[in-house]
Symmetry: none
Subunit: 207 residues, 4 copies
């Protein structure tokens, strides 16, 4: 029964931290949402901050183990690998947008900066994989030389900008108010196509 409750708390925390921020979320409402006793958070995690760290750690562990499979997939050429990464990312972010929102917020604040290292490490690893793919493409002369760090920044940045704010989503989709942008397949497709188009153009040799 331990891990279940811990998990319930973490899920509730992610939900609330994403919507209200870390400081904007009180342990009281967090416990209420998770359906556990107020004292449980400190009991299990030691403090509100430690809970936050646990949440980040758990989720980032989950994300760390991806991507390599794409890298070594020999059935795809470099451009196809890029396409797969784009699709993969968009799907990840839409399905886990609350978590990405929390991370994104956290990275902008100058508090709990010890966590930044952790987050940046994940980002760095992703960059490395992408860099390897690009380097292969360059070696094979199918790609031109680009800035690998900033290329992944454009990749992530576009997705984050498009997906992490509900208000922004609504503006971009321009449809009736209260529907969930994160399950709208048409928008996901539109976004994937756009990023592919940008990346193809960016990576391919110019005329």
């Amino acid at each position: 029964m331990h891990p279940d409750k811990k998990q319930t708390i973490i899920e509730a925390a992610m939900e609330l931290f994403a919507d209200k921020g870390f400081e904007g979320t009180s342990i009281r409402e967090l416990a209420a949402k998770a359906g556990v006793n107020i004292a449980m958070v400190n009991y299990y995690f030691g403090s509100k901050e430690k809970l936050f760290e646990a949440m980040v750690e758990e989720k980032s562990t989950y994300f760390r183990e991806r991507l390599n499979s794409i890298l070594i997939d020999e059935s795809k050429n470099e451009l196809q690998k890029i396409d797969t990464i784009i699709e993969d990312y968009v799907n990840r972010i839409t399905s886990q947008h609350k978590y990405h929102r929390v991370i994104h917020q956290e990275l902008m604040l100058q508090q709990r900066e010890s966590l930044h290292e952790n987050i940046i490490a994940v980002f760095a690893k992703n960059k490395e994989v992408l860099k390897k793919i690009i380097d292969q493409g360059v070696k094979k002369k199918v790609f031109r030389k680009v800035d690998p760090e900033l290329t992944i920044v454009t990749l992530f940045g576009t997705m984050h900008q498009a997906l992490l704010s509900k208000s922004m989503c609504k503006f971009l989709i321009a449809k009736d108010a209260n529907f969930d942008p994160y399950t709208d397949e048409a928008f996901k497709k539109r976004l994937i196509n756009h990023i592919k188009q940008v990346m193809h153009a960016h990576l391919s040799h110019q005329p």
Copy 2:
């Protein structure tokens, strides 16, 4: 002395809100930073939230009045206009990064959502200007047809991702620790070049 103090408070607020978030900033420390009495915030603005609104309003007013000059500049062709916008944006965001950070955070939270409208409106106006430029380019057959909303999303998204987090900046620049990324001209140039490259490739006809 009236407007000065108000301004001092707003500046201190922006600084702290950017670094610690709205809820993470207490009026106490805000007043201390601004060098005013603790009661002044409520005296001038009525509440912490109203101060926040005042800050957003003031700054967004400032940003609303740009961009049109670029649109109507007849000495530039469409691609040059895009380039100018990119340079303009990067300069703006680096010089006002704290403000952009606050706005960016705010847009992700589901609190004080009444402000989102205001913020999105500024974004929408920027998009309109960009769209006009793109449309002109398309009509003149120098640009291909692209998704205008998502194109500006990529533009903003890349900059925000690269600039709004200090940790991200440091990772990207990969230089010694405590130097200020927002005054590093080399990095700015690198970023501008990257975005220009991406945009040129994206907008121009493919081979």
Copy 3:
């Protein structure tokens, strides 16, 4: 222009103190209601408490000078004098109900007790007049011997109980909601008749 502003403040104070109590009224709203500067209250009266005292003093001075005329009126017998007093009181309280409410409240609290003396003195004087009338009636054998203090307590108590609470008024009148009980002549007449009836029965010899 002095006395006018002072008067305006006193009137506003009476209004607000009656509805919200002394502590429940802030100088800010008081000044707003009176249409004067916030600093005027302290400027004219020295403090909020002194304003209160000034208000009580002024109004009680006004009420102190009544009643003697009734006492010495030779055209009326004792019962007629009692009747006149009842009518006079009911009219006074209805027309000055806010003030009476303030006084009544004040007398119940154990704060600013120095004012109680003042208020009780007015009450005492009223009692003295009534006592003289009753004593005359007793001497003429038209009244029986009664407790003069408690008789005036019944007199005042009935009126206060009936008139000083709007909710109580509404309950007693049992009419449609938002009308002003203090201008309802029918209710005033009903109240006067009741008190006269009570007093006549109380003072006259029993069968």
Copy 4:
């Protein structure tokens, strides 16, 4: 330990609200008087206002359940019932004078008016019982026809006027200063006799 502390707080609140009014009482001193932590009031009751409501509710519940026993007592005739009610009321008010003071104050203010309904309901029920007794007496031709609402107003009003203000009590008793009027049996008897006399005269047929 739960109900005890709640009760302690309620008792302290009644004490202080009676002496200083609701707004004149701070949670700080309330907690100090009750000997509990300053946060307990909000912990138990949610807010100062809710504490007030809880106090009123609890006490009014207590008073709601009386009186009917007198109504159905077949061993007493109507006048005896009235006498019993008078004695009962005077005893109640003297023993619970703080509570009655709070209620009485509250009814005069135009704040927290939602509570008025509650209070008036208790008053209304008392009136109904009294009205039934009077109606019986009228039917048996031992009473004359009177205004039942205002008759109970006189009953309550006299007691409130005599008992709810310490200063008024002292004036009426005219004895040495610091003794407690609420335990002075002589004064209670005097008051009871006066009210009985008034009510007998008021209700019986006139000569």
